[in-house]
Subunit: 171 residues, 3 copies
């Protein structure tokens, strides 16, 4: 099935764009959240977003086990949204997981997904080189993941100010 | 009348591109500067830029009261350039103004502007997440403002190395 | 001959894209590296990349004297790759060279280059304004250099996630 990568900066409107692209599909929609409710403020924000998405959506949390969550969501839903890969990568790095293995498993899950899937990711490599080594590693890992997915999906867009530029037009 | 949003990074050539787009209009041109001459070096730089723009241009300073400045400029000039929105946002934040109210007033002023208007803004969300909370708030506010304006204008471009990519082509 | 500027963020896939664009040309290919092997790890990485490029390529190091290296490479090779301009700029700044003179000499060398040339550069101006003054100067210099080259080349692309957006389509 068709896969779309939505790439953009912080507050670029990429999540809203991605959600709108999933909502064109009829039926049940799965939202896979990689964010974790680590405090009350975050929990409240997540609950509010969930309520905002409306009755067609069901939400799954997958801070780490993203490939499994995609496989499970594809069994239950007619289209899947993953928001966002960069936060997932950050969760993996903090938990000292093997990034290469996890990225390969993710690419495989996207390839096997039998319903349309939209994946949101941040572009973080367009500023000055960060001072700290962890930020540089993260930036490198995020860039490599974006490249791997962009090579695999059917369509890829770069979002700025809520509007898309097509890196890879739909086939 | 037609409104154009010019988005880009630092030293991307966005101001020069925006100025060239305004200069295609005949008649009197209004330059609305949101920069403030806080020291001698800055004052000198502003004076030099003003001299460079040539005799068709008149300059207004609007570090805070931007919506009013647009309304006033539209009465006197045949086309208006605002440079730049991100610095204006920074001025608002430093002066503890209500960002949402000011953004709404700005969008309204752009909608009512009876002459062509070109607005320059920075994209600041494509680097690593900043360490400090104020920078993160600023980044969020800048992204939201860019989205709000991009939704409203007739044309939006993303500038890199002085060259445009069309986020929203002219109608 | 034709000149191409490849602009992108860290780990955006810009080097790989640029190399592929040079490899379409038949004959001998020159790789001009602006990176310096300042330690063993870096030396090893450079050696590995050199081996990866294959037998058609010869490598020249030009951390500072880039214009001369381009002139020399154009005499010996059928196409030239420069990777990357932003690191070269950083080398110039650290060695306190005259940036404006070096940039002008570079543009002149590109204009005189009698074989196809592809130049890789980083976009570093799309994050939050850096705290430190040196980073701000560097960002300004990088942006100005990118604009100068973009104005001169026949084709310019912005790379994200390994995929190109055309800032300036090939003529």
């Amino acid at each position: 099935m068709t896969a779309l990568l939505v790439l953009g900066g912080a507050r670029s409107g990429k999540s809203r764009y991605a959600q709108a692209r999933v909502e064109v599909y009829p039926g049940r929609l799965a939202y896979i959240a990689t964010a974790q409710a680590l405090d009350d403020e975050m929990a409240e924000r997540i609950a509010r977003h969930r309520a905002d998405r409306g009755h067609r959506w069901t939400t799954r949390e997958a801070p780490i086990a993203l490939a499994d969550a995609i496989a499970a969501a594809a069994r239950d839903a007619d289209a899947v949204l993953v928001d966002c890969l960069t936060l997932w990568l950050s969760n993996l790095l903090l938990a000292a997981h093997d990034i290469d293995a996890a990225s390969a498993a993710l690419c495989d899950a996207v390839a096997r997904c039998r319903v349309p899937i939209v994946l949101v990711a941040n572009e973080v490599g367009l500023g000055i080189v960060p001072d700290n080594a962890l930020a540089r590693s993260f930036r490198d890992a995020a860039g490599r993941l974006n490249q791997a997915l962009a090579g695999q999906v059917d369509e890829a867009v770069f979002i700025a100010a809520g509007l898309p530029l097509w890196l890879k037009p739909a086939g």
